[in-house]
Symmetry: C2
């Protein structure tokens, strides 16, 4: 069936195709059915909406995602045919019933996610299955391989070094580590994700002061100049299935372990990393317990052995945010303070030096036990800050940008009695910052005036909430009052 293309100026964030009601009825196509759209051998799947009025019977209205992917022009003709229910739905059902999936079955699910053959609801079922039933090491290997196979690769000359944090704790060590280690001569094409469960991923924070969306050829240019970058992995299309899965996980703030493992490992494989350090903060208020952290370490090491990567994990008990800022702009400000040696910024500097040291040792730049010392030297010398400015400049940004802007609304939370900070519920602070508008509103977030063990006077500010939106601010204050995430006695 041939139809004439009409462009739809929608930013639905997913491929949308709209058919005329009469055409759909004649062809036996219904709302939410899948169709294939084909042009000169290039084929894309789309989920159908049906309309009357703004398009004619012989037309198909498509969103820009589809037009770009298979290179269509307005008023050109395309072939359209209904697609039957994909077999991958059976495999998703299988996982939801806690049965093991073969490589072929996982590959089919991942393929169909990338090709947009599966709806977001169907992906939600898959995530639920993985969340509830877990995955065997063999399944995790399969998923990692399938995710890498369906994405692009960054093939670089030289030995790529990488680090990754499992996340959960506000405070960005990555920009500091990358600046220090690449100053020491390591090749670090760092791709980061956006926030999943926290108020800001490294990519969200960097985006406040520079671009993070680049193509692979653009990255290669940046790396020629700087030997390091701090970009968003999503724009590279190195793990498009994973990006889509994370988008659906975000609805419920889910992040199941097998998905976490394969997501991180796939991104390391896609940039061809040979040496990798994984940062695993643990504790009562962190993403994982000590036991879970140790289990993750074992699994990361197994996965790395399977894929031929030299990998170590750094487990660290973490009971509070690493610095004062929570949210993209507030966290990148803290990073700049550390790099400028203006403020040791609580535990952020300490942790960044610790991890940089390990990475320098792992890559053979320092002897065992001497890495942290070297890292500190590089930070003190100003070399790391210089390198960071180089990277930001190469990514078309400027550090000064950040000083001028603030969120529209601000609210101080004051202590209602005197005392000493006893516990900081990190997950609730993360949730609070998200309610205030993070990560999409870059300048929204929290500023923590007090840390664990600090003394507080009655009426003293303990936390400032920033938001771009009155309603979100109201909800955030309500959430704080209900949950009291900062405990003192």
């Amino acid at each position: 069936m041939r139809l004439k293309v009409k462009f739809l100026k929608l930013l639905a964030g997913r491929p949308v195709a709209i058919l005329h009601k009469n055409f759909a009825e004649k062809s036996g196509i219904h709302v939410d059915d899948r169709i294939y759209i084909e042009k000169k051998g290039k084929k894309i799947a789309a989920i159908v909406d049906i309309a009357t009025g703004f398009l004619k019977e012989g037309e198909i209205a498509i969103s820009s995602e589809i037009a770009k992917t298979i290179k269509l022009r307005e008023k050109g003709m395309v072939d359209v045919e209904p697609a039957t229910k994909p077999e991958s739905l059976n495999f998703i059902h299988k996982k939801l019933d806690c049965r093991k999936l073969s490589f072929q079955e996982i590959k089919q699910i991942i393929d169909d996610i990338v090709k947009n053959i599966l709806t977001e609801s169907e992906i939600a079922y898959f995530i639920s299955g993985v969340h509830k039933c877990g995955m065997s090491m063999k399944e995790i290997q399969s998923m990692t391989k399938a995710v890498v196979d369906t994405g692009k690769k960054l093939n670089l000359e030289g030995r790529v070094v990488d680090k990754h944090s499992i996340g959960g704790i506000p405070g960005r060590t990555t920009p500091i580590i990358v600046s220090i280690c690449s100053s020491a001569g390591l090749l670090m094409p760092k791709t980061s994700s956006r926030a999943i469960t926290t108020p800001s991923g490294t990519a969200d924070a960097l985006e406040v002061i520079c671009k993070v969306n680049f193509t692979i050829p653009e990255i290669k240019k940046i790396l020629k100049k700087t030997h390091a970058c701090l970009v968003w992995g999503g724009s590279l299309n190195i793990a498009p299935a994973d990006d889509k899965i994370i988008q659906v996980e975000r609805l419920l703030n889910l992040d199941p372990e097998p998905q976490l493992l394969s997501s991180i490992m796939a991104k390391k494989l896609a940039v061809n990393a040979k040496i990798v350090l994984i940062d695993i903060p643990y504790g009562k208020n962190a993403k994982v317990t000590k036991r879970k952290a140790e289990s993750l370490e074992r699994k990361f090491k197994k996965l790395a052995r399977y894929f031929g990567i030299k990998l170590e994990c750094s487990l660290q008990k973490t009971e509070e945010p690493l610095c004062s800022g929570i949210g993209p702009a507030l966290e990148i400000s803290d990073v700049i303070k550390v790099l400028r040696r203006e403020d040791p910024c609580h535990k952020l500097e300490e942790r960044a030096l610790e991890l940089s040291g390990k990475l320098l040792e792992l890559a053979g730049k320092a002897k065992k036990g001497k890495g942290k010392q070297l890292a500190e030297k590089i930070l003190d010398s100003g070399e790391a800050y210089k390198k960071f400015k180089e990277i930001v400049k190469a990514q078309e940004g400027k550090i000064n940008n950040i000083k001028k802007q603030k969120a529209k609304y601000k609210h101080n939370i004051k202590a209602d009695k005197k005392g000493k900070i006893k516990e900081i519920k990190i997950k609730q602070l993360n949730q609070l910052a998200r309610i205030a508008g993070c990560p999409l509103d870059k300048f929204a977030g929290l500023y923590l005036h007090k840390h664990l063990g600090d003394k507080v006077k009655k009426g003293e500010n303990i936390l400032t909430i920033y938001s771009e939106n009155k309603i979100e601010m109201r909800e955030a204050i309500k959430y704080y009052r209900k949950n009291k995430p900062i405990k003192f006695k």
Copy 2:
């Protein structure tokens, strides 16, 4: 924020609101965010898409569902405000982690489903939780109550009698039972669902010959004439949350037990039924095993006691489709044959008489053990068929309609050797019929030429596949060849 309404001629099947890119950016609203649209105190939630081009900055394009619900006119002004993440997401997460939900928590989820505050992906997470973790009897009661509370009610004078099947077996007993029992003087306002996992629900089958979408006042008019009806429950809005949940379950052919129990019971409560018979077919190829059937019976009885309903279950071992047709048109044809006494139609008549007899006894129209005899007498006398024609006429249909139409494509499956039918895989036949286009293509489906124990010659037709669509037919044949759902030796 006030915006001007523009109608969107989309049949998205869900409320859609599209904002202009510039307006969205200024207001901090993103794709897939939730907003509230308000007009004169009436408020509706919608999920946001963002566009440029076909609408202006001060406009909001909305689908007809929204316009109808809060009575908007084109070019009128509405108030729009961003909504924060609903608390019900926390409860969905809780269920996905197998923790028990309180009545208030379940009520909040159901409310948000009805108000379209939850996306389909979020509902998929809820269903996954119920599927994996089950629900306590208390939770099932809560869900039933919440579903009824958020729907409309059919308040009738007189004692309402109802029946329901848990489904899974092709062959419609309901139209026969309703015709027999209302001939005997019972008040039977039967609301049926559309297919969930099978190729045809009773509503899908009836729709081939008459309307099944009615409002509550229309139903009352029909009942005044006929004392019985056979309508689709979905159009009555008696359990809108359940309808939405079923829509998302259908993606993966899921039908978790707690949802099955509360779905059926809510619909009985909404029509104020006092006497209810539940048909539970079980067996290797049925929806449930004998053990599961007995557990369902216990749970149905407990639920009924809690809600003050006189309820019995009829458990029946069922190893094959009740008659020859599988699919809406093919199944309603079989019903008419039984009512006309043209063909006993294998086990369909037997089962319909059995269930009618039980219902007549339960409602006091026949003595214990004499119900089936009375049912048979009514069927033989032609009274039941007369009643059925009355109902179809009252629902604006005509029985003859069905004889004129056939599906566009037809394919015979022939025996590749001689033998005897040994097993019929019902679930695979259901799947096969769905691949062929059921339930949306009314005339698609299967015709079973042979039943269990029948002898088959080599080359003889055992099954005919009907489809409206070449590709679906091709897929159906492929599925048959791969799975061979009819086994003989």
